[in-house]
């Protein structure tokens, strides 16, 4: 029962992340909304798997997958958004500040 509640919370986070991926105006906003929410949501689902199975074979696999997912997705998002900036994608019109432009010079 507790496992189902934790999984439901995770899927709620995934839903918010996907809404952000669809609705926000430019690629930077989309990535920062989607990556954080979806990473936390899937870590929560894997935690639900750990609670459901306990410390058996499947539970240990879920426990291994959590830090792997956490670190790999954040590092990949950072590299991807840096490449996007170098690729030359413009920010949306409503953006007010671009600090990275001064760092690059």
């Amino acid at each position: 029962m507790i496992a189902l509640i934790v999984i439901s919370i995770g899927i709620l986070f995934n839903l918010f992340g996907c809404i952000g991926l669809l609705r926000l105006p430019d690629v930077y906003n989309r990535l920062q909304a989607a990556t954080k929410c979806v990473t936390l949501g899937c870590c929560s689902i894997l935690a639900g798997v750990l609670i459901h199975f306990g410390f058996t074979e499947a539970g240990i696999k879920a426990l291994i997958a959590v830090p792997l997912l956490f670190f790999s997705s954040t590092v990949a998002a950072h590299a991807l958004i840096r490449g996007t900036y170098h690729f030359g994608v413009k920010m949306s019109d409503k953006s007010v500040k671009d600090d990275y432009k001064d760092v690059e010079k």
Partner: protein, 88 residues
């Protein structure tokens, strides 16, 4: 209890479908890459829910392999976007 789990599984698959919408529609190339990255993370959640539903543990292995392959693929695409060769 099991019915609720199946509803959650279908919701998660539908969210992956929303990512496919962004992959098809995305106005620029980086939009599509971001959506592919998010899709790879969502599939891991699908694998985890299926492993509870069927009670088999090897499906989580598929999820772990998918995490690693998605990581390497996204790093390669990021290198391609910033205009560098793969050994720089």
């Amino acid at each position: 209890m099991n019915t609720w789990l199946e509803i959650l599984l279908y919701v998660q698959i539908a969210l992956s479908g929303l990512c496919l919408y962004r992959i098809i529609r995305g106005p620029t190339i980086p939009d599509r890459m971001v959506a592919i990255d998010i899709f790879g993370i969502l599939v891991v959640g699908v694998c985890a829910i299926i492993s509870i539903d069927t009670g088999k543990s090897f499906i989580l292995d598929i999820g772990i392999a998918w995490i690693i392959l998605s990581f390497i693929g996204t790093l390669t695409l990021a290198k391609y976007l910033s205009g560098k060769k793969l050994n720089e």
